[in-house]
Symmetry: D2
Subunit: 305 residues, 4 copies
């Protein structure tokens, strides 16, 4: 399989979609992205890399961070975490309060905002004041790259406009499913969303999930096999909000998207993939990113189904 | 009709209910009320007064404040207010986020928490920094009593435990239905809930609503007739959260309850009534207060139906 | 008060609204009504009658029948009825299944379709095969007119298009809140909706509710005072589906509307009113009928508030 | 991998769970199953078979039929089918009307009851009076076994107790998402649920989905590769009602359960599996069947993640 050729074909075939989709407007800083940006990176378990487009350009990872904070929390805290956040698809948009209210403050899964906020609250309980640094260190470890930080302007922009997330965290607090002070947790949460990474770094960061929990390049164990498989299953069933079924249907790979325009995905036992393009489809996922991944599994036959 | 005798009968007949109901526990300060307290006050349009029990004891008016802030806002701001808050029963408990989310941040009516917060936001737009003082002055005017203030400890207690109200206001802000800074609005809101009044003061304060908008004792016009009638209709259909139908069914008078244990009601063109007893029924309304009003309309035949 | 003059004024002032509203299209037979029809009838407790427009024209009473079947069931069956149907506003459109599903098959009140179907099921339990005849006889008694029947074509039209009502009754059957065979109950229900009456007959039929349960012209007791008041309260809080608050707000009288274009209302202790005009507003209530009643209470000051 | 040994281990390890779970009680006929029954069948793409327990005992396939009717409809009718039924997890129990009402009669996916009923309606449009025979013939073809029929008693039992399904189909009819007469469609639907099969027959029937649409034993193409993969993805995200995430999380294979106690699953490109045990867990899926499949993927490492 000539992955370089396939990436070139994908790049050509997605050109016609650049007129479609929209930049997110609810966070002013994200609305300033360059609409013509596109990058795609593939890293195989034996360390071969394939990149196309602006694969060294940093963008804010937003909800992709949920995969990593959940991994980190699961490692330290799995028993309590399983009680405080579910693992079922939500069937509702990503910031729905309805489900939370009907289900007493227990989010459906860790990949909707409410679930990720509970996960961050767990990390705040474990690491206390050092929680965000631990998250950043974890990102550096899994990406094999020390050059990772968050963007202060995006962080401040989110803090000033994240009313729905404030609503979610207050509602969960009223159900006693947030243990730390709201302001502390929400700050860590918005910081993790504001982490800036390239598709190259993100593809590397997902390798341990493609390899049953172990980084194939360093051989370091990040998570045990059973937990790694469960995260993949969660990405497949819940990774794209209320378009998760559609993504599973059309792409057929475990993956996670962020409103910053990034998507990560894994082909179990084979490779990790990351794609970036900032304009979003109606579900809040990168329009071109989704198309690129669809083309990828069609061309390679590498769906898990 | 011998109202003194009727009040005495009511006081006797409610004795058996003092074992029932529960103090609210979500605001610690309210949980400290004296469970055996009971007071009832009636003031007729021609100024006759009838009181029984601790009718000079102050308690926090809580949601009863919604009637007065809505009156004040309606006087200054009716056109915009009608767009930003509805006038239909909600069919949901008093702090439901579900309805707000399905209806784009427009609360069903001004007597559920969300609607009252929007109302307070309107007052913050009109009166700016002076908003709470204006509310307090309005209470002094309609009660004909300068001796009214809020309780700082209750206010602080609410501020520290009002997570659901913080969730509501943030959700509405995300739908652009809150114009002022969240912290400002919520502080005014919790202060108005913490206003301390007696049943005597509250009965006086409701006289203008029993008299088509005009205080019958001072002859001062508080609100025009059409608006006064509409507030009465709103109290009847929406004044008791999801037990509004039950209250209309059993009592048959426009009224408004608060979790502080107070209830106010009017007999149009005849009198205003206020009752206090701190233990609540399952709907969050004063259990004995509701019973007392039921007995009142049964004994007097003064239901509006 | 010159009610003849007031009716004339109303008739003039509503002319401009005839261009608005829409005939219902989900029941073909109802879509054939004459859009220009208008009638209004008032009968006072002492038997004075005031009519304007086509007050002898029959139209299908549709949901207005709910008031009468509930009265009849309450008389025979109140204890069980109170368990099987609530008395709270629903906050949802008239045929919502959502509320039923969340609340285990117990309808919120007897004036939404689900609640009226349960009421009819109660009548089927009491009167068995004779249930519809008993309903018809009751209508003849309260209207003081033997000339009342149902329209077979409308009945058949409803039976063939009433899929939402079939959905409701099946859902309630699954919760064991329907005791008789579905087909029997639904037939009685659609027959009662297809009863044809004039505004004159309907105004007469409501007199007992304006008079605390007793027909003021025959002095016959239809229902006891307490139950009669409760029906009035239910009409006020729940009589117009999710526009009940609006009707209470603007008209201020207990009333009940039907998609056939009729509305009935009472001024307690004074009079009964009926109005007819077939085009509906967005809530499914007669547009001109609602306007006419608004004008009526504005001109007479006869709101209950 | 010694699959015979693994099946034996599984059979031993599940013994302790026979005290748990409950037979379904809403369909009387299903409540008569033998609680101690257990069977598991595996057939690989090259035709090797492994069976344990009562693998020749027939049970009613119930919702497993949804996989096959959807396959059959997709083959003939995919364009229209995609418009009339979605492919997202529902996040609600299997017979929820709430979601249907909020989403205008379009079921979330073909594996909840509403979606399967729409699928059956499509088959009724294609095959008219012959629809159920076509379904039965399709089952015979994919199982390679002519000895398949439905159980009349179960069918009649379902018809007499399926009020929720009658509610669903009437609601969808009111949204014009059912084209054929309700009674015709519901009869075909209940017949397909009453089809009786063994785990052996079911395992064979799933082979084409494990093999990208082609029966590996006869080499006959049942469905094209892309559609076959999509059905697998749908089974993974939606195959187990509101426990679909849990099944994906713990088992990690595309699968579909039925309240008759059966579950089918595929290991893409490797094998098809079927398991039977009639007692259900709280989600309505075979308790022991689910456990057996969990043990299977743990022991073999054959999860798709």
């Amino acid at each position: 399989m000539d992955l370089d050729a396939i990436l070139k074909e994908i790049q050509e075939e997605i050109q016609k979609y650049f007129t479609k989709g929209k930049l997110p407007n609810y966070i002013p800083m994200l609305a300033q992205a360059d609409e013509s940006d596109f990058a795609m990176s593939i890293i195989t378990l034996d360390g071969e890399e394939y990149h196309i487009g602006c694969s060294n350009k940093k963008f804010s990872i937003q909800s992709i961070s949920k995969v990593f904070t959940f991994t980190l929390a699961l490692e330290h805290y799995s028993k309590e975490l399983y009680k405080r956040v579910g693992h079922e698809p939500s069937g509702d948009p990503f910031n729905s309060l309805v489900q939370l209210e009907y289900e007493s403050g227990i989010p459906r899964n860790p990949f909707i905002n409410a679930g990720a906020i509970v996960t961050t609250d767990c990390l705040a309980s474990i690491f206390e004041d050092n929680a965000f640094n631990e998250i950043l260190d974890f990102m550096k470890k899994v990406s094999g790259d020390q050059n990772i930080s968050f963007d202060k302007n995006i962080f401040i922009s989110e803090l000033g406009h994240g009313f729905q997330n404030f609503a979610l965290i207050n509602l969960m607090k009223s159900y006693h499913n947030i243990k730390n002070p709201i302001d502390d947790v929400i700050q860590i949460y918005f910081k993790q969303c504001s982490i800036m990474m390239t598709t190259k770094q993100l593809a590397h960061s997902m390798l341990f999930l493609a390899n049953h929990g172990k980084d194939p390049l360093t051989n370091e164990s990040i998570l045990n096999e059973s937990k790694a498989k469960r995260i993949n299953s969660l990405m497949l069933t819940c990774g794209h909000y209320d378009a998760s079924g559609d993504f599973a249907y059309k792409v057929g790979l475990p993956g996670k998207s962020g409103v910053g325009g990034g998507i990560v995905a894994v082909v179990p036992k084979k490779m990790a993939i990351s794609v970036y393009s900032p304009k979003l489809n109606v579900y809040g996922n990168s329009l071109i990113g989704t198309k690129a991944l669809e083309l990828f599994t069609t061309k390679t036959g590498l769906s898990i189904f």
